[in-house]
Amino acid sequence: MIVVVGLSFRTAPVEVRERFASDGTALEQVLARLASREELDEVMFLSTCNRVEVMARPKGNTDADRARALKAIREVLADHGKIGTPDLEPVLYEKEAEEAVRHVFRVTASLDSMVLGEPQILGQVKGAYDAAVAAGSLRSFLGRAVHRAFSVAKRVRTETALGAGTVSISSVAVELSRRVFGELDERTVLLLGAGEMAEAAARSIGKTAKEIRVCNRSMERAATLAQRFGGAASPLTDLETELCVADVVVASTGSPSFVVTRDLVKRVMKRRRGRALLFVDIAVPRNVEPNVHTIDNVYVFDIDDLQQQVALGLEARKAEVTSAEKIVEHEVGQFLVWARGLDVQPAIVALRAKTKGTLVAELERTLQGRLKHLPEGDRAALLQMVESATNKLLHAPTTRLRRAAGDGDAQELAAVIKELFELPTLEATDDSEETEPPPLQ
């Protein structure tokens, strides 16, 4: 089974988390260090700004093996964060077996994210998976678990609204523009004001826009910002002309009075021949006179409107958690059935080997003795008979064992079978040990 050791925004303050921040090469080093540990059979390393996690499969199946693996991971993490183990331990969480599987599934499905349902985490886990595959530290078991996690995340996204809605100011602004104009690739965005807020807005809303123009009191700053986004700059005196060209206006000037008044917009709308105009006013005090919103085909959203949408979006996502958790629970169950099936695999293999071995040995002896006159064809037929007898005989115990494994009480049965048939003790490893982890879609 797998273990997870890590820290996240839930357990560790940013002072601790930032110590683990690292670039690509550092990540590879940590992964290599983890992979080189004797105690770990498979390992994957996930590092985002909100969490640092090691997912691993210990070598061996006993409690002592697990404890050794956990200790090894803690050591590597302490080393990586350059932090003493006593300081690290209070912020670390450790999960084993079923709990660990559930954790991996929940993290990947963004149920454990700071912003519930945010889509980035899936990409980050995929990145970690790719790195681990490249480093050769993943094999079928952990690889399969993480792979399952991807399809869990996909199910959660499509079957629930956990990732729906808008949960940030900029995404609300983008959503509003879409609601009015559809795709923005034929639209012009005007930044009214050239401060940091304008820049942040330009980065999200302007990503898909055809053109970004900047209109600011200080022409100098307007030009600097416009240059950064490859747009045109103009002074505030040209506002009326600029409003005739723009489709979406993001207002963020520090002006104490309204920069965009109702009279101005009425004039502009005449010149625009009624084409729709959207104002996203993120400035406090507001830049756009509120009653501009009452003009036909003009829509004004101020910072409170946007904030309200963010709150609504978050609330809507919270309402989806229950159904998402249900999906996770179901998938955890499915995975455990598969994993427990691996536990009884050695018993099945041994039982088979013993039965067939005994029968074949007896057959050989008889063929060399009393039946040595038999021609080659008959010998082959007898061998075939032994084969199918084995299959028929072992069909019932095999399926019963597998089913029992699914229900979680196979260990006892397997032990009984071992005892009754005097089977040799085999290492409990899955039969696909050497296979590659499943490829990513």
Binding site: R179, V180, F181, R273, D305, L312, G313
Partner: protein, 355 residues
Amino acid sequence: MRNGRVALGLRFVQPRIREQIEIRIDIGRRNRRLGRKRSRLVRLLELAIIVAGTRSMRSFGRVRAATDERQRGEKERPHGVRTILRTPLVTALLYLTAATYAAAAFAFLVHLAGRAKSVGTLRAGVWLIGGGAVLHATHIIVSSMILNICPIKGIHFALSVVSVLACAAFLVMRARYRIDAVGVIVAPLALTFLVGSQAAHAESGASLKSAVLPVHILANLFGEALFVLAFAAAVAYLVADKQLKKKNVVGVGSRLPPLDVLDRAEHAFLLAGFPLLTVGIITGALWASRVESGSASDIARSLFGYATWALFAGVLLLRAWRGWRGKRAAYGTIAGFAFAFVVLVIYLVRSFTVA
């Protein structure tokens, strides 16, 4: 060739069927006079329907009965006979079509009311509209064959055909404009037209005696279908606009197409429908002058027809000239559609009063 009968020089038609066709094509004295002027296309169309109808409906054993009834009717009432059409197949098709349209409307409603952006219900709605249109078209073809009436004759079929055309146009245009969600208005409208058509009996009345009338009817049918779509887009626009004006971002509006898309689609449908309406109005006036009928319903119908034309002309002109887009254009479109709808209702009412 007996008086008032047309012998068909169709060698390939089996003698038995030919006999039935000969019986059925009783054009009448007046028809015969105008019949020569009839466009060859209309005649071929009617012929094709009759041949197909005779072939397929023999199994219903109703051909003779329908023919007799029709012949009797035409003798008694030169302007046509009304038939209530209730064969099991036609009834089944009718209910199935209605159920499919209703299911489509329901799917779209679920899509709009749902919390998640569920593509499944939207797709289901589109498929159901498509299925409904196919069933509906089948219904029209089968019942027109049984009745032996050209499907563009009379208000019974006209209403039905408009709804099929509107659905077909929606299916073609929804992909181009990405206005799938507008189906929430198209589906109930199609259902309304279907139910409305059942209120009127099929009539063989005003037959297509000149080339003017089929042109008039066809232009109006296609125009009406496009106005159904323009109306649907306009309603969707007003709903989406209201949502945004109320600063309601997460509600129904979020699953409707963008405002600008709706506005442009509505304009495109109007622009395409308007020339058809113009042709319809002109041919209607021509026909009216020929028939010289002056009943109250005819006058009201033409008045509302002219009003529809004037309203749509106004909407298009003001948009081009004064930039009247969005809400004003949407209200104008809805008003224009309402007038066009009144014209259809007048037809419907007349079909009762004449009966």
